[in-house]
């Protein structure tokens, strides 16, 4: 998993509440056997006029001009500003995979669906909860100002606006540690590799038929 420390990036304002995982990545794409390659289909129904199918080349698909992700000023964005209860719906990890594959590393919203929130950390995305009023302010600033960027500082737990305003956010110590060091569950377990090996050595004596 990629390390997350400080991130400065273009911000996209997605001013909707209850964005569900099916909107983030529609169900026809769940048939894929990959965990990458979902970026072009992120928010597929909102982004394109036609119906997307797995494996489709998206370069020439008719785009919905009014959808934020299609506006050139937001190209290369890595921070998503969203409404409350972002990521509700199914527990599939395809939603964070799609966001990550598109290039988002941080999502800021007044609230998140539980499972989605956890799945973000597992995949190296930082979900940040800020007050509804603050999120609305940032949305407004972002829409008003082309090239609007935020600085997300995980060690300091702050978001800094272009005008130098700071907002603090909370994050669980353990999850913070994992993101800072790029540790997913597997990375964490592998920190105990010696203990796993010692266990195997002992078990080989006790129960050789298992090896």
């Amino acid at each position: 998993m990629e390390v997350f420390t400080q991130l400065e990036g273009i911000v996209v304002p997605l001013n909707r509440a209850n964005v569900d995982t099916d909107a983030i990545i529609p169900k026809q794409f769940l048939k894929s056997i990959r965990r990458t390659g979902y970026g072009p289909y992120l928010f597929d129904e909102w982004r394109y006029e036609d119906r997307g199918e797995p494996g489709m080349d998206c370069t020439n698909r008719p785009q919905r001009k009014d959808f934020v992700l299609n506006q050139p000023r937001y190209a290369g964005a890595s921070i998503l500003l969203a409404g409350e209860n972002f990521g509700c719906g199914s527990s599939r990890e395809h939603a964070p995979w799609a966001l990550l594959d598109y290039g988002f590393r941080c999502i800021i919203a007044p609230s998140f669906a539980d499972i989605f929130y956890n799945n973000c950390f597992k995949n190296g995305i930082l979900p940040v909860v800020l007050d509804e009023a603050v999120v609305q302010r940032l949305m407004a600033e972002c829409e008003a100002q082309e090239g609007y960027r935020l600085i997300v500082d995980l060690p300091q737990q702050t978001i800094t606006t272009p005008s130098g305003e700071h907002f603090s956010f909370a994050v669980d110590d353990f999850r913070k540690h994992c993101l800072l060091h790029g540790l997913d569950d597997i990375g964490l377990t592998l920190q105990h590799a010696d203990e796993i090996r010692a266990y195997e050595q002992r078990r080989k004596q006790e129960a050789p038929w298992l090896f």
């Binding site: 056997i33 377990t189 592998l190 796993i196 195997e200 006790e206 038929w209």
Partner: protein, 470 residues
């Protein structure tokens, strides 16, 4: 201190106790199939990781393999891509696979025990909820998600919180015609689909000890439908006799040592369980599910219930919806319900004993005229071979059944084997949710003998009366 069977196996697999109360648990056997593994393998690849211990892992495609015309390959593109991805991943990472052309290929939960890949006292995981099946061997066997599949591949461990323990005791003798499947359905009908939530269930009592390994596997298979994390049965002579001489079992040099260790795999006499339930075997009749949840189940002698008889408003509403979906009227006798299709197979009932029981009913009869399709789908290539050596395939074919190649088939309808909207099926599988066997399809869960009898009669019949029906 006195220990339960679950505690004994759990304690033997603790690698470390994490600060947050979770346990790093060592996994002895990891079974892999095509649907839940591709992203796990890709995750390894993206992170530059290798499997921790390839010898602990065995793969076979089952969920969406064709059960007919195998020589034409897999025509559905999505299924083909998944099966080919499994082949490629197994090759790349050096994992043993029983592929489509291998006689050992089959439903992963039939293959594991058959090959001796599942052994008493093991921890067994698979990216599939019915992994609980393997608990019949006194193993801790749990279904896991794709992220966990990757975690087990990379570390041979799983991070787990210890569940509570529950013992379900069934004492006495079963009436003839009652099988492990009927017991499973009966228990779920009694304790509900949430009855085992958060628990590891041990099935115990004289009636359970009297079951064959096949019967115990059917029982543990459906522990998941009772909401449990896993189901288990203590090791005894039946277990040890089944395991003897299996291809991947202990070799002669350590058999005695293994057997000695396995003989300790039972709950101590004074072990304490968080929950205890007891049933009388004599009360159990052949079961038929009538609704869209496995707990909506009744003895074959019963009538379809009316919503007014429900315990409360929530249940009444659930029944109303189920009756509508199932196209059933309250007070209809179950034996008056006609079926359109019959499916004998799946990880619940796709073993040799299941086909013997079904063939004993079918022998010398013809499938009823109103049956559009009756399928017998062996759980593995070896089950198929064994059945053919015993001449069971002829019995099914002569009666008008289709005798197919091994796979999950109409249990979940990921391949072409499925119900059309409104079709009613007597099925030996384990789930009757809306659309499980095809959009709009209506599933009645039954034992193999009950499914076979329904195929011949065209409607449900009580197999205990089968002789008289003739």
């Amino acid at each position: 201190m006195a220990k339960t069977l679950f505690d004994k196996v759990w304690d033997q697999h603790v690698v470390r106790q994490n600060d947050d109360g979770s346990t790093l648990l060592y996994i002895d056997r990891h079974l892999v199939h095509e649907v839940t593994s591709p992203q796990a393998f890709e995750g390894l690849r993206l992170a530059g990781r290798r499997p921790w211990r390839t010898a602990a892992t065995v793969a076979t495609p089952d969920h969406n393999v064709p059960t007919i015309h195998r020589e034409q390959g897999i025509t559905d593109p999505v299924s083909r891509v998944q099966v080919e991805a499994l082949d490629a991943n197994c090759r790349e990472f050096g994992i043993m696979e029983f592929g489509l052309g291998d006689i050992r290929q089959g439903v992963v939960h039939v293959v594991g025990p058959e090959q001796g890949l599942t052994l008493p006292g093991m921890t067994v995981v698979c990216g599939d909820s019915h992994t609980s099946t393997h608990g019949a061997f006194g193993a801790i066997a749990m279904g896991i998600g794709t992220s966990e599949v990757e975690h087990v591949l990379a570390t041979q461990c799983l991070i787990q919180k210890k569940p509570k323990t529950m013992r379900i005791r069934i004492e006495g003798r079963f009436p003839n015609g009652v099988t492990g499947k009927d017991i499973a359905l009966y228990i779920i009908g009694k304790i509900g689909t949430a009855g085992g939530t958060g628990h590891a269930i041990e099935f115990a009592g004289s009636a359970v000890r009297g079951l064959s390994m096949e019967g115990r596997m059917s029982l543990c298979n459906m522990a998941i439908e009772a909401g449990a994390r896993c189901g288990m049965v203590a090791v005894d002579d039946t277990t040890i006799d089944y395991v003897r001489n299996r291809p991947f079992g202990p070799d002669a040099a350590c058999w005695a040592q293994a057997e000695q260790a396995w003989r300790t795999l039972h709950s101590d006499a004074d072990a304490v369980f968080d929950t205890e339930v007891q049933f009388d075997a004599a009360d159990i009749a052949p079961q038929v599910s009538w609704g869209t949840s496995p707990e909506m189940v009744l003895p074959v002698t019963a009538e379809i219930p009316a919503p007014e008889e429900a315990r409360n408003a929530v249940q009444a509403e659930g029944w109303r919806r189920a009756l509508e979906y199932m196209g059933l009227k309250p007070h209809t006798k179950i034996t008056d319900i006609q079926v359109d299709k019959v499916f004998i197979g799946s990880c619940t009932n796709g073993r040799i004993e299941d086909f013997r029981a079904a063939a004993a009913i079918v022998r010398g009869h013809k499938v009823a005229d109103n049956i559009k399709l009756a399928m017998a789908v062996p759980g593995s290539g070896l089950v198929k071979q064994q059945a053919e050596q015993e001449g069971l395939d002829r019995i099914f074919i002569e009666a008008g059944f289709e005798w197919r190649d091994p796979g999950c088939s109409m249990c979940l309808a990921m391949n072409a084997d499925r119900l059309e909207p409104g079709e009613r099926c007597a099925s030996t599988s384990n789930r009757n949710f809306e659309g499980r066997q095809g959009m709009g399809g209506r599933t009645h869960l039954v034992s193999p003998a009950m499914a076979a009898a329904a195929a011949i009669a065209g409607h449900f019949v009580d197999v205990r009366d089968w002789q008289e029906v003739q």
